[in-house]
């Protein structure tokens, strides 16, 4: 399958005696949004960390754009085109919104080892940063200190920074959290169009968004993928209904 952009093959993770992930395999294909859902504590965060390189799996393989990246760290995976957003914002809170996006542009298209020229005067970086802010609808907030943003806006900023990297695959950890109904509708519309630029592995609790966006859904329960398929397949899957949707209803 040549259209697989990101794949996880048979990875596991255990903390002491507790096994957090058991032989998880999933893939992300060109042009799709693949949603990963599951109750809290199912191991979604662990899986994201393993994909992004901040935790090493005890076995198995992570492949990005056809290359085995299991041995690479977060920095190297980002350089290979992994665009990640965080559930709990990881932003330079004392810096302005614009500085945060410029940082992304810097990571993607320039060396940070430049010591003299004002980074805000570098037109190529500005262009990338402004475009990204525009796309997520944060252009008006460019000069605001990041700590003054609402939680939803921080989530949008996370997406904007990921955009500047022009990644080959997005991994987004609950981008809708804290957005509210209107905000989440806007972001849903935006992500809908984004999948053609690069596929998205979407971890999300907002089921409206998941059902509206996902081409495929995988359900993770107790560190195991119990079902994987289209929206309709998942809706009608007995195991899912029992294990997951059951306690939502």
């Amino acid at each position: 399958m040549t259209d697989v952009v990101l794949s996880v093959h048979d990875i596991c993770k255990s903390y002491g005696g507790l096994q957090a992930s058991k032989n998880i395999s999933l893939d992300l294909r060109m042009g799709e949004i693949h949603a990963l859902i599951g109750p809290n504590g199912a191991g979604k965060s662990t899986l994201i960390k393993q994909i992004a390189g901040s935790e090493t799996p005890c076995s198995g393989q992570v492949r990005l754009a056809g290359k085995d990246v299991t041995a690479l760290d977060t920095v190297a995976r980002a350089r290979r085109g992994l665009g990640r957003t965080f559930q709990i914002s990881e932003l330079a809170m004392e810096d302005t919104v614009f500085q945060n996006v410029i940082l992304g542009a810097l990571g993607a298209g320039g060396s940070p080892m430049r010591f003299w020229r004002n980074v805000l005067g570098m037109d190529d970086l500005r262009g990338v940063a402004e475009a990204a802010l525009e796309r997520v609808g944060l252009a008006a907030k460019a000069a605001v200190r990041t700590s003054e943003l609402s939680h939803g806006q921080r989530r949008q900023l996370e997406v904007a920074v990921a955009l500047t990297l022009n990644p080959t695959a997005f991994v987004m950890d609950e981008p809708m959290a804290g957005l509210g109904t209107a905000g989440s509708k806007t972001l849903t519309g935006f992500l809908d169009g984004l999948r053609t630029q690069a596929p998205i592995l979407l971890v999300e609790h907002d089921m409206d968004a998941v059902f509206a966006l996902a081409d495929r859904i995988s359900v993770l329960v107790y560190g195991e993928i119990i079902a994987s398929g289209t929206v309709n397949e998942i809706r009608s899957d007995a195991a899912v209904r029992a294990a997951y949707l059951g306690d939502e209803a």
């Binding site: 760290d73 920095v75 330079a92 809170m93 940082l103 940070p112 980074v119 920074v161």
Partner: protein, 327 residues
């Protein structure tokens, strides 16, 4: 921001006008005092690149101050004795030329900072503080136990080193050299803070994971920052040694490392002029309180406690308002 600019301009004006006044009223002692403040400020500005922008609390910067001092001491002592530093594989003579001494001081303290940083940055937080402190102490003990350059007694240089076209023995001329270097480094630091490097380094202080996620290695940023920081503090050490025409292991002492941090704290962390204000206040306090009481460190200690507990923005913070906190 605006108020801070006024503070900064006043500081620059004071650094120009005060020695000018001292020179016109023929008070060389005050010029020497001002030179000391300027050199301490330079050491603090150096540390502040690592500490203020990068968040790296180094408690071992005396290592670089001392290495700069010994670079001067070793080169000048060989030159004044007409005794080459070594003869094989080639003859290396000492020198009395300041620019060459500065270069050697900057390179040697930079190399040391690179090595110490490479090891210390494998950790963070409290470990980093303890390890930098320990490496500083290592050089202190080494300088005491290595007898070739005076050991515990240190090294005296009879005549201040030379700078082309200047009479360095004239206090005001040596002051001009030092303050010019300070201004040059301040200009460099203010550029660096706004350049891609400063942006990325500041972000790495606030969220290392954010920086990693955009494909930039915080370790490399911090190592480069630590090295530049060590180089500048090393230059300050060479100037300090030339001011006193004397180097000794006390330049490596942990108290000095602490004092360099104190300059930054008094002035205000992450402010461009923080260490400059801090060093001026420190030297003034030392002069004024030191004249009043033998035990002036008690008052310094109390003042520090008050600043840490109740005025976290330092003096510039008090004067210019809180721009940002450092946590």
């Amino acid at each position: 921001m605006k108020a801070e600019r006024i503070v900064n301009t006043s500081v620059v004006a004071a650094l120009v006008l005060f020695p000018l006044w001292a020179w016109m009223t023929d008070a060389p002692f005050l010029i020497t005092l001002a030179t000391k403040a300027v050199i301490f400020a330079l050491a603090g500005v150096g540390l502040n690149i690592a500490l203020g922008i990068g968040g790296l609390v180094s408690l071992g910067h005396a290592a670089f101050f001392g290495l700069g001092g010994y670079a001067m001491g070793i080169l000048a002592s060989h030159a004044q004795a007409y005794d080459p530093i070594f003869n094989a594989p080639f003859v290396l003579e000492g020198t009395k030329s300041m620019p060459v001494i500065w270069l050697v001081a900057i390179i040697s303290s930079g190399l040391a900072a690179l090595a110490i940083g490479a090891l210390s940055l494998r950790t963070s937080g409290v470990y980093f503080i303890m390890i930098t402190l320990a490496f500083g102490q290592m050089l202190y003990y080494f300088s005491i136990s290595w007898p070739a350059y005076g050991g515990e007694d240190g090294l005296s240089i009879y005549v201040r080193n030379s700078f082309p076209g200047m009479n360095t023995l004239d206090p005001i001329q040596y002051y001009v050299i030092c303050v010019a270097l300070l201004f040059a480094v301040l200009l460099f630091t203010s550029r660096l803070a706004r350049a891609p490097f400063g942006l990325a380094l500041g972000a790495a202080r606030q969220s290392p994971l954010r920086v990693k996620t955009v494909g930039i290695s915080p370790y490399k940023l911090q190592l480069v920052a630590f090295t530049i920081s060590g180089m500048i503090t090393g230059l300050a050490g060479a100037l300090f040694a030339d001011l006193n025409r004397f180097v000794s292991p006390t330049m490596f002492s942990w108290q000095l490392s602490g004092e360099i941090i104190v300059f930054i704290l008094i002035g205000g962390t992450a402010r461009l002029f923080g260490p400059v204000v801090g060093a001026i206040v420190f030297v003034l306090l030392e002069h004024l309180l030191g004249g009043l009481s033998e035990y002036w460190h008690i008052y310094l200690g109390l003042l520090l406690l008050l600043i840490v507990l109740f005025a976290r923005g330092g003096l510039i913070g008090l004067l210019a308002g809180k721009e940002r906190s450092h946590d």
